[in-house]
Structures are given as structure tokens and as C-alpha cells.
Amino acid sequence: MPERFGDLLRKERRKADKTLGNVARLLGVSVVYLSDVERGNRKPLSNERIVKISGFLETDPAPLMEAADRERGFIEYDIRKARPLEADVVGGLVAGLARGGVKDDQLHAIQKILNGEIDAK
């Protein structure tokens, strides 16, 4: 079973020898709030906060973000910060999915490209 966001955060925090108080002060939140997040009683932190913590703990933010995405049930992605091509592709795909207009064979093709199974060129 994949590790819960809160458990992973606590593990990374203690690996870096930081306390709840150290990280709560870094984020400007209360110790109770951060403890609730680690105990799984609140939603995972935003990606922005995860990046901030990861810098402080000197760890890779990707596993924390993946765990957060799984628990939120959606992926945080700011299209305003994307490159134009990226915004076009992601925006088009998400809009298509939302309208139910993307067919299975199209999704399979995208999946194969992402998995490196076929050359996109």
C-alpha cells in the first residue's frame, strides 16, 4: 500500500532532524495544524508548501507531491505558469476529458507515448 502523505512527511522531517515546531514556523502555521496534517486528520499540504518544506528538509518533493495527489484525488497544476505549448496540450486534454470527448484509443496512444513505448515523432 502506498505511504500516506502525513506518514511520509513525518518520516522525511525526522530524517532531516527537524521538529514539528521547526516546520510549522517555516510555513507560518500552528503546530496543531501541521500535526493534524501528519496524522491524516487534514488534507495534504499544497504543492507550493511541499516545495518549500522539501527545500528546508533537503529532500525531493516528488514523492510527497505524488502522495498528496493520491489523497486529494486530483492533481494540482497551475496552467498560468505553464509554457504555451504545455498549456495548449494539457488544457486541450483536460477540457476534452471534462466533456467526455476523448476516446479510449486516443488515451491509449497518449499512454504509450508517455510510457516511451512509441516514438511521438
Binding site: R14, G21, V31, S35, D36, E38
Partner: protein, 209 residues
């Protein structure tokens, strides 16, 4: 630290000698040497490294947390949904842990005593309706100190904070042992050091065997 009984009857009576052994095992799991002062903040943050065993041999995870509490320092409890035992501290206790206040160290080791010694009782308590829990806590008569949950947790806390082996090695090093030396070496209050020293002088052979 009071000698009056304020807990409920524990499942098993426990001797000072047995409590010393339990505390020594916990120290080993956390890599604290007998003469070393426990860092209570580190202990609280790393509670998940301690393995708690039920009487049937099952291992239960242990966690710590900080919650909003107005009228209590905190408590240990079993979480039925997550199937783990938590020591939950108030913000005030967490502040004290960060400041190195001896009371906070006593709180964590005392609650850890409940987790280690009264695991089955914590689990049963979590399954009781609130009115039964209250009734259980009201029934505080008819048992001896060594059977009392609070007495046991207090004695465990003392043994964990000030191990008899560590006290003996201090006595050997300095040629004497007193309240100030104990309080300074182990980062505890003078009251806790005085109580422990009294027990140590009375039961030295048992505690060191």
C-alpha cells in the same frame, strides 16, 4: 508524583524491578545509554520508533500528535480507525518540550508508560461507550499501589528518565548521589529526582538486578 492512588486497577500488578526492565528496553530501542539524559522533545517526535506489543503478541504502531486542549496536558489513546496508539499533547506541553521544561519530559514518559504497560486496557477503553469509561474512572477503590495504572505509569516514567544503572554509574563517578546531581544529569525536576533517589536508596539491589 503523588503517592495517593488516582488511577484504575491495571490488568497486572507490577514491581519496581519489572518496571525498571521495561524502561530499560525502551531506552535500548531509542539508543539512549543508561547514564544519558533523555531528550523529551526527541522522544516525543520519535515515538513511532517504539514497538508496542499487545498481550497476544500483536504489534501496534505508536504515534505522537499535538492537539488543542483547554483543561488537560494530554493523554494516550487507542485510535480504532487507524489501529494505532497516540500520545496527544496540548500546545502548552509542546511549547514546554521545545523549551526543555522538566514537566513536559515527565508527561511524555508517563504517557509512554501507559502505552507500554496498559496497551490492552487502552484498546478496551476505546471500545467502551463514554458513560462506561466515566464509570470506570470513578471506580478507584479496592486495589493496591502496584496494581494502580497511574502509580505504574509514574514509576515507569521515573525509571525511564533516571535508570538505576545510570544512577549507580553516577554514584561511582562522583562518589555521592544527591537530588541536585540527579536533576542536573537527567534534566528532571528536583521533586522527581528526590522521589526517585528515595526509591533507589530503598530498593537498589532489586533495581540493579
Amino acid at each position: 508524583m503523588s503517592k495517593a492512588l488516582c488511577g484504575v486497577r491495571a490488568d497486572c500488578g507490577t514491581s519496581y524491578q519489572k518496571l525498571e526492565k521495561f524502561a530499560s528496553l525502551v531506552r535500548e530501542q531509542l539508543n539512549f545509554a543508561p547514564h544519558e539524559a533523555i531528550n523529551p522533545l526527541r522522544l516525543f517526535e520519535d515515538l513511532h520508533e517504539i514497538r508496542i506489543r499487545q498481550s497476544d503478541g500483536h504489534t501496534i504502531p505508536l504515534r505522537s500528535g499535538v492537539i488543542v486542549l483547554e483543561d488537560s496536558e494530554g493523554y494516550a489513546r487507542y485510535d480504532r480507525d487507524k489501529k494505532l496508539i497516540e500520545i496527544l499533547a496540548s500546545e502548552k506541553i509542546y511549547d514546554w518540550l521545545e523549551q526543555g521544561h522538566p514537566r513536559a519530559g515527565y508527561f511524555v514518559t508517563h504517557e509512554l508508560g501507559h502505552c507500554v504497560l496498559h496497551t490492552d486496557q487502552l484498546i478496551r477503553l476505546a471500545q467502551m461507550p463514554a458513560n462506561q469509561q466515566t464509570a470506570l474512572h470513578r471506580d478507584r477503590v479496592g486495589h493496591q499501589p502496584f496494581q494502580d495504572t497511574e502509580w505504574q505509569a509514574n514509576a515507569f516514567a521515573s525509571a525511564l528518565l533516571m535508570p538505576a544503572r545510570g544512577m549507580a554509574s553516577l554514584e561511582k563517578k562522583y562518589g555521592y548521589l544527591n537530588v541536585l546531581l540527579l536533576a542536573d544529569q537527567f534534566g528532571v525536576s528536583r521533586e522527581a529526582a528526590g522521589y526517585r533517589l528515595e526509591q533507589f536508596n530503598k530498593r537498589m539491589n532489586d533495581l540493579l538486578s
